[in-house]
């Protein structure tokens, strides 16, 4: 598969245009030959940090890690000026959201794109150092990013006195050692500091007091990878990439996995429908089965139904339907698969990955797993559905430091809403004596 044929400067797939899986990852010479690092050279010479921030803000780029927060607004909270002191840029490359497989592709195939992007972001906020917080299992990405950084450092693009200017900025790859919670922004900062990855209370927000108590920006791999293209081509170009499918700007690394015929990851205009992802790109459901339910963007998003397939996959539209776009990587469940088993699998994951800091999360998630296991085995108790409903509230937003527990409750609450009969079918038949008593 070659995507490199598109030589139009107004290319519609900026993030993946340079990916050629046959030829392998693009090395330093290859990236430079494709105009790589030209944007960095230009901004260091011609643009002020405020100019760069202005372009990104005007582009309406929104965080691609799941929350969708406008990147330019996040950056604008960072103190600027000569007395601002040490500031840090952190790339969240801890991709562990169940069903999400997009950042791996970008890092393994076009590592220099991320390096240039981090240099641009670092320049815009005048950061003193950058870290790529990479999950430890991504060994290929680690190797390629370190190679890319070494080459970019040797060429003067990264490190002390970038392109012989006054600004110094080096980037290091920090690899993790497991635990999904590290993807949560404040837990990630604790882990970066070499501590247990428990979340921190907000405020203060990381933009004010993050890593080592200093102003810190945490951006996702895909979010950052857009920057060289936005700055090179301008906000209007970026807005037009969604081709009128959405109010949001740019493209999105969409994916489809689970019981699909041809699972995959594709860069498409933001606002593309889930139906197009499933039916056109993923070749429909496997073995001609019918779709039962789908997660729009990871394990911590509410299930949607086949009737929602024609919705635009963007932040507002999916939210209005009662879920979240999340990472935009959909997971499809087939008609013959158990929704109870799927939810049990998800809650087992969240229970195991809870950091244990907050009681509702630490105790509530294993509780939900026990009940779901019982229902799965047909021995659920009469009040189990009531308890599950209560758990979705007790573990809901505002009860814990971070969004881990509320996220875990999203697939459960939506499954209870859409598939109640399947839950009821898992309740044990009432014992005869009890029935007689109530009669």
């Amino acid at each position: 598969m070659s995507l490199r044929s598109d030589s139009d400067p107004n290319y519609a797939k900026p993030l993946t245009r340079l990916i050629d899986r046959v030829a392998g990852p693009l090395d330093f010479a290859g990236y430079e030959a494709e105009n790589g690092y030209a944007t960095l050279r230009r901004i260091v010479k011609e643009m002020s940090p405020a100019d760069v921030q202005g372009v990104v803000r005007a582009s309406n780029l929104r965080g691609r890690g799941g929350a969708g927060f406008p990147t330019g607004v996040k950056w604008s909270l960072i103190p600027m000026g000569p007395d601002a002191g040490a500031k840090y840029l952190v790339c969240n490359a801890d991709e562990m959201e169940p069903g999400t497989f997009k950042d791996r592709l970008l890092m393994e195939q076009v590592p220099h794109q991320l390096v240039e992007a981090m240099m641009i972001a670092g320049y815009a906020i005048q950061a003193t150092a950058g870290y790529i917080f990479l999950r430890g299992e991504y060994v290929t990405a680690e190797k390629r990013l370190n190679e890319a950084l070494a080459a970019a450092r040797a060429a003067g693009y990264v490190g002390a006195n970038v392109l012989d200017g006054p600004w110094s900025f080096d980037i290091h790859v920090h690899t993790g050692a497991g635990r999904y919670i590290c993807g949560e922004e404040t837990a990630l900062i604790n882990s970066l500091e070499g501590r247990r990855a428990t979340p921190r209370a907000k405020p203060p927000f990381p933009q004010i007091a993050g890593a080592w108590g200093r102003p810190t920006i945490v951006n996702n791999v895909e979010t950052l990878s857009n920057l060289p293209h936005i700055v090179a081509n301008g906000p209007d170009w970026f807005k037009a990439l969604s081709e009128g499918k959405s109010q949001d700007s740019g493209t999105k690394m969409y994916g489809c996995s689970g019981r699909a015929a041809k699972p995959g990851c594709w860069e498409l205009p933001i606002g593309t429908t889930a139906r197009e992802l499933l039916e056109v790109h993923a070749g429909g459901m496997k073995d001609g089965r019918r779709l039962k339910a789908w997660l729009p963007g990871g394990g911590s998003t509410d299930f949607l139904l086949p009737e929602h397939l024609d919705l635009a996959m963007d932040y507002e539209t999916i939210q209005k339907a009662g879920s979240r776009m999340g990472t935009g990587q959909i997971t499809v469940v087939a008609e013959n698969q158990s929704i109870i088993s799927a939810v049990r699998n998800l809650e087992e994951f969240f229970a195991r990955e809870s950091c244990g800091w907050c009681t509702p999360c630490r105790d509530g998630l294993p509780w939900s797993v026990k009940i779901l296991q019982a229902i799965e085995q047909g021995r659920g108790q009469a009040d189990d559905l009531d308890v599950l409903s209560k758990l979705t509230r007790w573990l809901g937003p505002g009860k814990t430091f971070c969004p881990h527990a509320p996220g875990a409750m999203e697939p459960l609450q939506s499954a209870l809403k859409f598939f109640r009969a399947e839950f009821e079918a898992g309740l044990a038949p009432a014992p005869a004596a009890a029935s007689a008593k109530t009669a």
Partner: protein
């Protein structure tokens, strides 16, 4: 003072010594951060890379290099699932148990692995060849059901392919 206390708490601490390579690699990682303790996870990984796991006796010497207390580092070492606090086999199999693999044959794959190896999660085969562990979504959902053996990603893996897949890992 601290050292004396540690010796009382864990007499084996004296028996453990970081190699020159380990110390150098840990110090290199420390140089990347404004605060050296930021390298604690990487320091644990350095020792694990050289020895396969992180023995209790290693905690105090590593903590001394980082300039933090052994108790503090112990807290870090027990938090992260991929820091091994028991000896593991020559090869570690990490089976993705997240939703996309669950929907594409994870249960059957795990059962077949357990059957062929004779171990459950967290256990090592008697010949010391394989340790079997579950792992968070490996970010290879288009290749479910998938797993990693050491640094190699494999997927999709059918239960019938397990024997052949394990063969090269002696």
């Amino acid at each position: 003072m601290t050292e004396a206390v540690l010796k009382i708490v864990d007499p084996r601490a004296a028996a453990f010594e970081l190699s020159a390579d380990e110390r150098r690699e840990i110090e290199h990682e420390m140089s990347h951060y404004p605060d050296p303790r930021a390298a604690s996870i990487e320091a644990l990984k350095v020792v694990q890379k050289h020895r396969g796991w992180v023995p209790d006796a290693a905690i105090a010497p590593i903590a001394a290099v980082l300039g933090i207390s052994a108790a503090d580092l112990e807290g870090v070492a027990t938090f992260y699932s991929l820091i091994f606090r028991h000896p593991v086999g020559r090869h570690v199999i990490k089976v993705c148990d997240s939703i996309s693999c669950h929907l594409t044959g994870y249960d059957e794959l795990r059962e077949e692995l357990s059957r062929q190896l004779g171990v459950r999660y967290g256990e090592t085969t008697r010949d010391g060849r394989f340790t079997l562990l579950p792992i968070c979504c490996l970010g290879a959902c288009d290749r479910g059901a998938c797993l990693m053996i050491d640094d190699d990603l494999h997927g999709p893996v059918e239960p019938t392919e397990v024997a052949k897949l394990l063969e090269p890992y002696a």
